[in-house]
Amino acid sequence: MDGERIAQKVFLLAAVLSASVTVLLLAFMVILGLPLFQGGLFLEILTQPWLPGRQLFGVWPMIAGTLAIASLAVAIAFPLSLGVSSLIAVVAPGRIARLVKSAVAFMTGIPTVVYGFVGVFLLVPLVRESLSRGSGLCVLSAALVLGILVAPTMILFFSDALARVPRSHRIAAEALGATPAQVLIYVLIPGAWRGIVTGLVLSTGRAVGDTLIALMLAGNAAQVPNSLLDSARALTAHIALVIASDFDSLEFKTIFACGILLYAFTAAATLAVRRLGRKRTPAR
């Protein structure tokens, strides 16, 4: 029986070790960014502009940049994803739906850096020439590519949720003479709202947490963007850009503030999704 007990201990140890990574991640950021938490400095950093020439190292422009890029990306991806999952659920079920679904699943496997690379050499010149303003590296370019990047995750959650609506509800509506569109709008979408919100929240988390697209396509100017064609810097991109500076400077410490913010946001998104009553890890 001893082997049994040792095995059980080993399995438990592995689980506890893995869970401790979640805590250590936050602890390391808080400890290394400790000077930030003294004398209200943290709040100042969150609200001030980024003007290194005047010794101001606030990350407010990066928060605004992340909000602009991520919310626009989600706003682009949401109607697109609802359309594609409606096609799968109602408009063209059967072979076409299966084909579209495997194409969407394949899209989740396309490397982010590949999207970014194609964005730099195909979309950015297009944006630059057609709008004849700026370099083409802007909120719009990043959001368009990021929208395509998060759409597959959204679609998989949406079509999963639509398929889970009990068949009896659908049949009842059809028996009452509802057309496919009426079934979709009055029965399936209301019945699947939890899954739809879950997909929306998790995709927003992905859009906020993505580094490469914003870093490669948004231009990285540390300013609050005023229009879609302004350059912006996301929180994630800020971490990647400042990591090379002097470790003991206040400038460097700000990346821990960005890290803590990103951690807090995605953790809150995860908690929200769990409260919605579905336990699922995001599909990448």
């Binding site: 438990l12 899209m107 590949v114 194609v118 759409a151 988390g205 994630t236 990448r284």
Partner: protein, 294 residues
């Protein structure tokens, strides 16, 4: 019969968005093929070094993708061999031993970890390197080992959940037979449950390999560089395909270098597509098997 306007609208929107999405993916792949296929030859991988000499590690490769490909391969092998044993063990605990509050709390931690952005995981890896550098002599810098460790953290929650789900999906009849014949809990897991759940676990592991191969944010904070040659040890810096693609997009000097960037993007895309296909194939076999059982 004429369709009602609402139905027309729904059809139009759903076909329109589907075609738009598929067209944009086709554009991404087509653009890379169009720009990249011309530069595929041995010189792309090995530069001016004779391929055999390079493969036997006798002579360094300059101006080819060989060091980046070897770097990515070593990174993936290291990260996966660190993550799979722990992920498997933790997944077994979650499915077979964990009960009640402890299991719920662990599940919450794994879900949060799964949602943490990869750049934050990279920042953690960087911080660990700084910590080790300060407290254990100045010999540790961001390096291959630190990157592999960070990537292992990144895919760990994913591996745990796929293992747990694969085990929990097994039918009750399979679960109870061996214990009824006198097998212990561990014997049941070792000889019955794990083999039956293997396709699910394996396809999860293959998708985790893809994630390690494509991730750029983690490695750019933990030791990858643009030119390092082949990784000399676990504690040296290294090159990697995704970082090379990122680097070229920002710093290319001439059209020849840009062409290798296109080719590198195509190679990475092909690797991830093959891994995806392998995972899908295994999953399909799993589906066929469970139908047989009924």
């Amino acid at each position: 019969m004429k369709q009602p306007p609402l139905d027309m609208f729904v059809r139009l929107v759903s076909w329109g968005s589907t075609l738009l999405l598929l067209a944009s993916v086709a554009t991404v792949i087509g653009f890379l093929l169009f720009k990249g296929y011309g530069s595929f030859d041995l010189k792309l991988v090995f530069g001016d070094t004779p391929p055999l000499e390079a493969l036997l590690l006798r002579r360094p490769v300059f101006g080819g993708l060989f060091p980046a490909m070897v770097g990515t391969l070593s990174l993936v092998v290291l990260a996966i061999s660190l993550a799979v044993p722990i992920g498997l063990a933790a997944g077994i605990y979650m499915a077979e031993y964990g009960r009640g509050r402890i299991q719920q709390a662990l599940g919450l931690f794994f879900d949060i970890l799964a949602g943490v952005p990869s750049i934050v995981v990279g920042l953690f890896g960087f911080s660990v390197a700084v910590f080790l550098h300060r407290h254990f002599g100045g010999r540790i810098y961001p390096c291959l080992l630190i990157s592999a460790l960070s990537l292992a953290f990144l895919v760990l929650p994913y591996l745990i959940r796929t293992t747990q789900n694969a085990l929990e999906a097994l039918p009750e009849a399979v679960r109870l037979t061996a214990p009824a014949l006198g097998a212990t809990r561990l014997q049941n897991i070792r000889f019955v449950l794990l083999p039956r759940a293997l396709p699910g676990i394996l396809s999860g592991a293959i998708l985790a390999i893809g994630r390690c191969a494509e991730d750029t944010a983690v490695i750019m904070l933990t030791g990858v560089v643009a030119t390092a040659g082949l990784p000399r040890s676990l504690f040296s810096s290294y090159e990697a395909l995704p970082f090379y693609i990122y680097y070229i997009s920002a710093q290319y000097r001439d059209s020849a270098e840009l062409a290798t960037g296109y080719a590198a993007a195509l190679i990475l895309l092909a690797i991830c597509a093959m891994l995806f296909a392998a995972a899908a194939l295994i999953k399909q076999r799993l589906g066929a098997r469970s139908h047989q059982r009924l």
